[in-house]
């Protein structure tokens, strides 16, 4: 491997020997193509015409009135597929194409990354397999169906809690046996090097656009930028461009599940300890001896016990503040945005909104807040209905 893939002491590539050649090949290909003129222009063209970039920055007036500050939504929910995930799958999918790979595999939690991979598999005519935990298959069934319509095979993962962690375990095991012809299209800014770097590269367009949109449309930088954190891709995607703007407060919101004190949550940075899982050193929810905890969250996309290595570094340095939002607040925020704006947020993104709602009354009314609305909530309607039946 050419680089160590470290963010401070975090990251690295803690994988079995058999995967090293594939990660080396991926690293080599990424650095060969990511600034290549042809690659860049093909990706730009697809981002615009296939995915729908740039995404708008929308001033959510009625939601703002409710919260008591000026809330702007970065509308990643409007992209094709319904989430920021397509930024990464287009980038990595194109990389796979340039590398001459014809088979894709991916893990998925909420099904958004699985869907975004299935779309790209169809677009490039590649055979696609999506690994998904059985619990997630049930709670995100709409996305399962969409993936199949795009021609992907969805593989049930029974092990563990049947969630994202277990899907990654099985995808890694499958990759081990098919490493010579299969491209593993990893879905978040975590896992072994070079994935955190690659995924970040394809997601930083969110922050680049958002920062410029703030300057053009509001005439100044925001005071705060909020994003939910599962593995960390939409968050690093929007934070990165603001890191050097020291006056812009950056807040990452993790899944507080039932509550932090119940232990039934997925708030890795808030409540975890440094460990090694899925190829990287990072904060991890684990017991004293290092056995990984089962996590719980109303949102499948945040229901994960580890987190991207760069976020660990940003936590330690204090540049980004990480907090948790509990399921109940998240469902409230989902309803609030739906009622005030007619926008159904993904339950993942609703974590960021929930934190903001919690700041109500504490913010100056002129405060400008950008929330990364990482995805839309169509996939979550069934879950919300279960917890909060709509009254006629």
């Amino acid at each position: 491997m050419k680089q160590k893939g470290r963010f401070g002491d975090y990251g690295g590539f803690y994988v079995p020997e058999v995967l090293i050649p594939a990660l080396e090949e991926l690293e080599e290909a990424f650095y060969r193509f990511y600034e290549d003129d042809e690659f860049v222009s093909e990706l730009e063209d697809l981002s615009r015409h296939y995915a729908g970039r740039p995404s708008p920055l929308y001033y959510a007036k009625r939601f703002s009135e409710h919260v008591g500050c000026k809330v702007y939504l970065k509308r990643e929910d409007l992209l094709h597929g319904g989430a920021h995930k397509v930024n990464n799958t287009l980038g990595q999918g194109l990389l796979a194409k340039y590398m001459g790979k014809t088979k894709l595999i991916a893990e998925t939690g909420a099904g958004q990354h699985g869907l975004a991979t299935a779309m790209i598999g169809a677009l490039f005519g590649m055979e696609t397999k999506i690994f998904m935990g059985v619990v997630d298959i049930e709670r995100q069934s709409v996305n399962v169906h969409k993936m199949k319509l795009c021609g992907a095979e969805v593989i049930d993962v029974e092990g563990g809690t049947g969630t994202l962690k277990d899907a990654i375990n099985d995808a890694l095991r499958y990759w081990t046996a098919h490493v010579t012809d299969t491209f593993y299209l990893f879905g978040s800014a975590c896992g072994p090097h070079p994935y955190p770097t690659i995924v970040k590269h394809f997601q930083i367009c969110i922050g680049i656009e958002a920062r410029q949109q703030c300057l053009d449309e509001i005439g100044r930088l925001p005071d705060m930028v909020l994003a939910c954190v599962g593995g960390g891709s939409n968050a690093i995607g929007i934070f990165n461009e603001f890191i050097d703007d020291k006056d812009v407060k950056l807040i990452g919101i993790e899944a507080g599940g039932r509550s932090l004190s119940s232990g039934r949550h997925a708030a890795t940075l808030v409540a975890g300890r440094v460990g090694v899982l899925h190829g990287a050193k990072a904060y991890l929810l684990q017991d004293d001896e290092g056995q990984v905890y089962e996590t719980e969250s109303v949102s499948a996309g945040l229901d994960y016990p580890a987190v991207g290595p760069e976020h660990c570094m940003l936590k330690d340095s204090g540049r980004v503040e990480y907090v948790a939002a509990e399921d109940k607040e998240v469902l409230d925020a989902f309803e609030l945005l739906s009622k005030t704006e007619g926008i159904l947020p993904a339950l993942e993104s609703a974590h960021a909104l929930a934190h903001l709602v919690g700041l109500k009354g504490k913010l100056d009314p002129e405060t400008v807040v950008v929330v990364n609305l990482s995805g839309r909530g169509d996939k979550d309607v069934g879950i919300v209905e279960k917890y909060r039946p709509v009254k006629d």
């Binding site: 020997e17 962690k165 890694l172 010579t180 090694v276």
Partner: protein, 268 residues
């Protein structure tokens, strides 16, 4: 304490190395099974401390990890387990670990405590030679041999690098894939063993997918110094969960059969 090199020079042909998950299905039964395996002819033991997320393992060993963990296995109890085994017989023991358990215990302390208990080496499945510095120095400092893996897709240059950091034996993975018993032995084994032997004098043991006495024979004939058998044996525990005596008997018998096959030497 008996060393790997003593064993490799004592056995004629290849050493027989069964793998067990410590505490599978429970502490007491696991002790009984491992002792029986030693009595039946095991030359070296490969033991795993169960982990919640064993990404290098197939379904058989995953299930063994779950059985062991749900019956209360811990890293501390594994230390006690090894001490008890060493009282039964001074046999070299290689631990097969996932890094997080070592890291949480404290890498240096883990190596030193387990070396004192009687472990000869600690192979970390999810740590490649590139991060060897994190473990190789503390391991040698604690008096352990270092064992690393070579796989069918490891190129010659990297093999040399791996060999240069290895003191116990090279753990040669016979197939691209995770652990699991397989009906056919990978055709790549012979060439792979020869290739490694071409670049180093460090002993070579072969594992992953070896499930039958004939497989062991073929691997030995290819020049391997040791044959590691995991999932096949762990599967015998799974098949006999309701009858522990039968599990012990079947494992003893299997090990004795493989031992016999290895002693007969190559058939051709």
């Amino acid at each position: 304490m008996k060393t790997y090199s003593q064993v490799f020079s004592e056995v004629d042909g290849a050493a027989l190395i069964p793998f067990f998950v410590i505490g599978d299905p429970d502490f007491e039964t696991s002790i009984e099974i491992v002792k029986a395996a030693i009595d039946a002819g095991a030359d070296i033991l490969e033991l795993g401390i169960p982990f919640s997320d064993p990404i290098a393992d197939g379904p058989t060993i995953q299930k063994a990890d779950i059985r062991s963990l749900s019956n209360g296995m811990t890293v501390k109890k594994a230390l006690e387990f090894i001490k008890q085994i060493k009282v039964h017989r001074d046999i070299p023991i290689g631990l097969l670990m996932y890094y997080n358990l070592v890291y949480q215990y404290g890498t240096e302390k883990f190596f030193s405590d387990f070396h004192k208990a009687g472990v000869n080496s600690v192979l970390i499945a999810d740590l490649s030679i590139d991060d060897a510095d994190e473990v190789a120095d503390p391991a040698r400092g604690a008096g352990l041999d270092t064992v690393f893996m070579v796989t069918p897709n490891t190129d010659a240059e990297r093999m040399k690098l791996i060999a240069s950091k290895t003191t116990g034996f090279i753990y040669t993975v016979s197939v691209l894939g995770v652990t699991g018993s397989r009906n056919e032995l990978s055709g790549a084994v012979e060439g792979l063993v020869k290739k490694i032997k071409g670049v180093t004098d460090v002993p070579v043991c072969v594992g992953f997918g070896i499930s039958k006495p004939e497989h062991a024979k073929t691997v030995a004939a290819a020049g391997a110094d040791g044959v590691i058998i995991g999932s096949k044996i762990v599967g015998l525990i799974e098949e006999n969960l309701d009858d522990k005596d039968k599990a012990v008997a079947e494992i003893s018998e299997f090990i004795a059969t493989v031992k016999q096959a290895l002693a007969e030497g190559p058939t051709q």
